[in-house]
């Protein structure tokens, strides 16, 4: 056990308490008449302008886990960990048009979740349920992982035991329950400001102290040369290049599909707000790139990761340890607070997103069809508590490694909702039954491939990583590919083939509740629905 760093702990705790107070006050911020409506509790009134959206999306997409795990991967394996940079470069140009179409159609029809949209577009409750359940399953381990980020910080400060995490999450659960999406939106300002300060200081101060980037990359090169593995290094091995780009591309596509991204997108005030943000969000990518390089700085600084609960070195502690070693205690406290608070913003938004999926696409669709908006909001609030309790239970009951594995699986799973959501935004040509078949094929094949991936480094026989060797499919090569992309390719092939057959056979399908015009609606258009509104097209389908 490390000695407790009291100065850092006090600074960190003070900032944490201040931010929690902010979370409770947030319910009065940009006050609505009542929070008893999903548009208010779950989407912050659908009225966030460009600045708030920038902080909210930034705080949402670049999670604490990213900030801890990406440098950890660079520390451990080198170049492959830098995939987070191309990933977060391509995501914005890739999704710009889709995000605008999704915002408009959701604005026109009052959709709160991606599954709402799929329900309206394809008229199929089962397809919407598939999308909703995939979203909830994929996001749960993601929330749990935010706790891994906090835990790494706590252990570096010499605080052991699980009680601090339980306290932190109870507070988080309480103010999310009370304030809804307004809480993370307000806290995101603090979180992002802290992160920017810490990262700027770190990437200027630490390299100077370590003698420049020549030294830093030299030390990294030396470390990887000595290691017996062939897949680590300052550059990618030739067999890794395809894996690198498919992982970047697949992760970018998955990011757009995660329910919490869509929640933050739909909370924007206008189409224009979304578009401007797609140009402004890469500022966070710069931060992420600089953070990734901290992994190499830790090598040069001679950081030794703390031993995890499983007796193996836990690389996630590398960045907190580097801060602890390099910074004066009080500033290390600020840096730790940045990471810990950074975990709360995405955790809150993820819980809200999962709760909205439950109340909209499961409760309302299958349990109580006449749920009024107030009841929906109430169910969502309760569900958000359950989700958070679940995340804490997962961390307490299981090894952290287990939630990391689950998160890996989650990324592959959420990617399988691409055809209904992304293709659905562009066309209605695909048949809903075919989309369901494709989704099932993608899920099963993805899980099988993940299960059959061994990792000789960690001695794991199954779920050893999300890189699938193409030799496993009979190709004569050592190349690996991101598993999610392989599963998605099969998913798309099945969707395409089944759609052709079903269309030829004239299989019946429900009408489209949306019109092409809806995908271009801007806030304030005369035909844009005054908000808050209840989705109209769900009403007739319910009979």
């Amino acid at each position: 056990m490390r000695d407790t760093n009291w100065t850092a702990l006090i600074v960190c705790t003070t900032l944490f308490v201040a931010v929690s107070a902010l979370g409770f006050v947030a319910s009065r911020w940009r006050r609505a008449e009542s929070l008893d409506h999903l548009d208010e509790w779950g989407l912050g009134g659908r009225n966030f302008g460009p600045w708030i959206t920038w902080f909210l999306l930034g705080g949402d997409l670049y999670t604490a886990y990213t900030f801890v795990a990406v440098p950890a991967l660079v520390f451990g394996a080198g170049a492959i960990g830098f995939f987070a940079v191309p990933y977060t470069i391509v995501v914005f140009p890739m999704v710009l048009l889709l995000a605008m179409r999704l915002w408009s159609v959701s604005h026109a029809h009052g959709y709160v979740t991606p599954a709402d949209f799929v329900r309206g577009r394809f008229g199929s409750p089962s397809l919407a349920l598939a999308v909703a359940v995939t979203g909830i399953v994929a996001i749960m381990p993601y929330i749990a992982l935010q706790l891994v980020g906090i835990e790494a910080v706590l252990r570096t400060m010499g605080v052991g035991g699980h009680w601090p995490i339980i306290v932190a999450f109870t507070i988080l659960a309480a103010y999310t329950y009370q304030s809804g999406l307004r809480a993370p939106a307000l806290i995101a300002f603090v979180k992002d400001t802290l992160i920017y300060i810490v990262v700027l200081v770190a990437v200027i101060y630490i390299p100077i102290k370590l003698g420049g980037f020549d030294e830093i990359f030299g030390a990294a090169d030396e470390k990887f040369d000595k290691s017996p593995q062939t897949t680590d290094g300052v550059l990618l091995a030739n067999t890794q290049t395809l894996g690198y780009s498919t992982l970047a591309f697949g992760s970018a596509a998955a990011l757009f599909l995660y329910p919490h991204s869509i929640t933050a997108l739909l909370a924007a005030r206008s189409r224009n707000t979304i578009k401007r943000n797609m140009a402004a969000l890469p500022a966070y990518t710069l931060v992420l790139a600089l953070l990734a390089l901290l992994g190499y700085m830790a090598i040069e600084a001679g950081v030794t990761p703390l031993t995890g609960a499983n007796g193996k070195p836990d690389n996630n502690t590398v960045v907190p340890l580097l801060f602890d070693q390099m910074f004066p205690d009080w500033f290390a406290g600020v840096a730790f607070a940045a990471i810990a608070i950074g975990a709360l913003v995405p955790a809150a938004i993820m819980a809200i997103a999962a709760a909205n999926l439950f109340s909209r696409n499961i409760w309302r669709e299958y349990v109580h069809r006449d749920a009024k908006p107030a009841e929906e909001a109430h169910v969502s609030k309760i569900a958000s508590l359950v989700v958070k309790a679940g995340a804490v239970a997962v961390i307490l009951a299981l090894e952290p490694q287990f939630s990391i594995d689950l998160q890996l699986i989650g990324g592959v799973l959420i990617l399988q909702t691409l055809p209904p959501i992304v293709f659905g935004l562009l066309t209605r040509w695909f048949h809903p039954w075919a989309l369901l078949c494709g989704w099932a094929a993608g899920l099963v094949s993805g899980l099988l491939m993940l299960y059959n991936t061994a990792n000789p480094l960690t001695g794991k026989e199954h779920f050893g990583g999300a890189q699938y060797a193409l030799s496993g499919l009979g190709f004569d090569t050592k190349m690996t590919v991101y598993t999610g992309m392989l599963a998605l390719l099969l998913n798309i092939a099945v969707t395409l083939a089944a759609s052709l057959v079903l269309r030829k056979a004239g299989a019946p399908r429900e009408a489209d509740a949306t019109r092409e015009h809806d995908y271009h609606v801007e806030a304030g258009d005369p035909d844009a629905k005054p908000l808050p509104g209840t989705p109209d097209e769900l009403a007739p389908a319910r009979r």
């Binding site: 391509v90 914005f92 890739m94 990359f217 189409r271 402004a280 890469p282």
Partner: protein, 66 residues
């Protein structure tokens, strides 16, 4: 106006083919090419997205504008 959106493919080509940039030289301030090349694409992709944003800006719509 819509053709401007095709510019958004450029950053994807720029960073998704690692074979082109998976090398050490030329270095920049001690940072290998692999790293600074990809980081260079951050401002480049912003510039491209801003250009697309300006060129496709939707005029304030009136009641007749469908």
């Amino acid at each position: 106006m819509r053709t401007w959106y095709f510019l958004l493919i450029i950053p994807l080509i720029g960073v998704l083919i690692p074979t082109f940039y998976n090398k050490l030289d030329p270095e920049l301030a001690g940072i290998p090419f692999f790293y600074w090349y990809q980081m260079l694409w951050i401002p480049l992709s912003v510039a491209i997205t801003v250009l697309v944003y300006i060129k496709t800006r939707e005029p304030k719509r009136g009641p007749d504008d469908a």
